[in-house]
Subunit: 341 residues, 2 copies
């Protein structure tokens, strides 16, 4: 039985990544003690280095690793499909990995893809990875691969890496401004979970539009949801008892919950209440009252990701931090506000 | 510049797979002439064999390749997530590849995953791959990897490989029988595209239930859709002019089109027309009139896939052809048929 890198890691009581770095001569960040220990174990056991990790390290494989947090979330599955299509047209194949929003899966996926010699890694981080110290862990893991990478959609506050992000602040502003332009003054907002950066940013955009219009800020009209149908339904049931004429639901799923709440108290959209969503899911166009919604520009996002990655491959100067502006898809869920009597 | 397997393939004018087989001693199906040619080129150029393909060939990597036809189709994204979860619990990671229903992408994905030494391949074939001679191509490509594989959801008529399939005939029967049990006699069917096996099988189940109940077969009540919203809408507009009391839409998306057609002529579901869908998408539960729909058992499907794969790894006897039975999720879109007057 041949010794593997995992066996060495176990014996040396260090991570597989550490062993890999030592044996591949990428050990700048690793202690001299660990390097000595790992090398001794490898020598003693006649470890045959893995060509996959050593000999091929400079050879291009024309493959890209793509790590996403939730394959069942329609935004991410659409994004994955577009990224893949864009890379295919450049002759690259995509290995996709799904993390279920778990940091450990982010880290494992990075290692597995790196071991498979992908030319680059695109990552939309797990929720866990965007919090506190985890941001450093994920950043270090990405840097240590010495493989070009691009951070997509979910951000970490590091300047020295390539990012292509959605401009969620602008999206929240766009939704709210649209309601204000139709004469609405009392606009409620059902937010996403505040631990997720997109949720905080959409709310920021809402606030910006409210303040710009000189409308008094009313904390009571903002309720924190969790991006799921049920929270839209529950919060709408509360909000519809207040003096409001419009709701901005920070994603479409929650907007569907608002429709349900309206139905139960015989409110009509848009006659009795105007509604704007966010994401522009396919289902929003086939609803009985099609939903006006903010659309993330997945095509442009994908194209910029490819350009950013290829730029890194070719050593060209690239724009490190790109923000992609969403647009508003207007349908039938918004009406002019009734004049107060 | 080191010579790669691709360079050899080009010089010998054979496929990369062929070169790989020759150099890895898996050349049973390859002509002596080709073997000689490939080996000569490799020797002449001092080709250093790729440990990835040679030395590691017997080593387990604890990774599985999963190939699906459309990541944006919610059935497949749910299936991918469940398969991944089931394999993770056994210590396996999943590399996912999406083919956009293109045969060439099936073949390329098989080769790429095989080159990355996955322990097994799970494949839900592209539409193209399930037609005519393509079935042989895909079967040969899978066999030549000498890696255990499991065919999932979409079938090819070969007996000597492991398959885990949905029982779509039973699903179609279940939907139609439910309508018959509620007193419906004039039941229309909007099918999927007849080139796809699931569509033909769901129709077969419909026919089986109709004939079992002794209802006269009426060809005019069966219209071929394409699994998209628009075809459900268009065909429903035609069917609702006929003497029917119920529609079986062979997927939920087309059922949503039926709702839209009903709305336009002021028909109510289920008072004026009963409706059953297929797939049980999440959206079916949040509709104004929640949809009764056939639910594929993705959890059982995933578990059987894992069991079939692990059985192959361990050389255990496995059930080669498993059919997973769907169930019916009853909601509010079916009412008792009105008695004729």
């Amino acid at each position: 039985m041949k010794m593997t890198i995992k066996d060495i890691a176990r014996e040396a009581n260090v991570s597989v990544t550490t062993v890999s770095f030592v044996l591949n001569g990428k050990a700048e960040k690793i202690s001299a003690e660990t390097i000595r220990k790992v090398k001794a174990i490898a020598d003693r056991n006649n470890y045959v280095p893995n060509v996959q990790a050593v000999g091929l390290v400079t050879r291009k494989t024309k493959t890209i690793g793509l790590i996403i947090p939730d394959i069942e979330n329609m935004f991410f599955s659409a994004l994955a499909k577009h990224i893949e299509t864009a890379f295919l047209s450049q002759g690259y194949n995509i290995f996709l990995m799904n993390t279920n929003d778990i940091l450990a899966r982010d880290l494992e996926s990075i290692e597995l893809l790196n071991n498979r010699n992908v030319d680059g890694i695109i990552i939309s981080l797990s929720k866990e990875a965007t919090q506190g110290k985890n941001m450093d862990k994920i950043y270090t893991a990405l840097k240590m691969t010495e493989t070009p990478f691009v951070i997509v959609d979910r951000d970490i506050p590091r300047d020295d890496c390539a990012k292509v992000l959605n401009d969620d602040v602008f999206g929240g502003y766009l939704a709210t401004k649209h309601l204000i332009d139709r004469g609405h003054m009392n606009i409620a907002c059902i937010t996403g979970p505040m631990t997720v950066s997109s949720a905080a940013q959409r709310l920021q955009g809402y606030r910006q539009a409210i303040e710009e219009a000189g409308i008094a800020w009313n904390e009571e009209l903002v309720l924190e949801g969790d991006y799921q149908f049920e929270s839209g339904y529950k919060h709408a049931s509360t909000l519809l008892k207040k003096d409001i004429t419009a709701i901005f639901a920070c994603n479409d799923l929650m907007a569907y919950g608002v429709y349900r709440a309206c139905l139960e108290i015989d409110y009509r959209v848009p006659q009795d209440i105007s509604l704007v969503g966010f994401d522009d899911l396919m289902f929003s166009s086939i609803l009985e009252v099609p939903l006006t919604s903010v659309k993330q520009n997945v095509v442009e996002l994908s194209e910029k990701i490819v350009a950013t990655m290829l730029g890194q491959f070719n050593g060209e100067p690239i724009d490190m931090h790109l923000m992609i502006k969403p647009s508003l898809t207007e349908r039938s869920s918004v009406a002019d506000a009734k004049r107060s009597v």
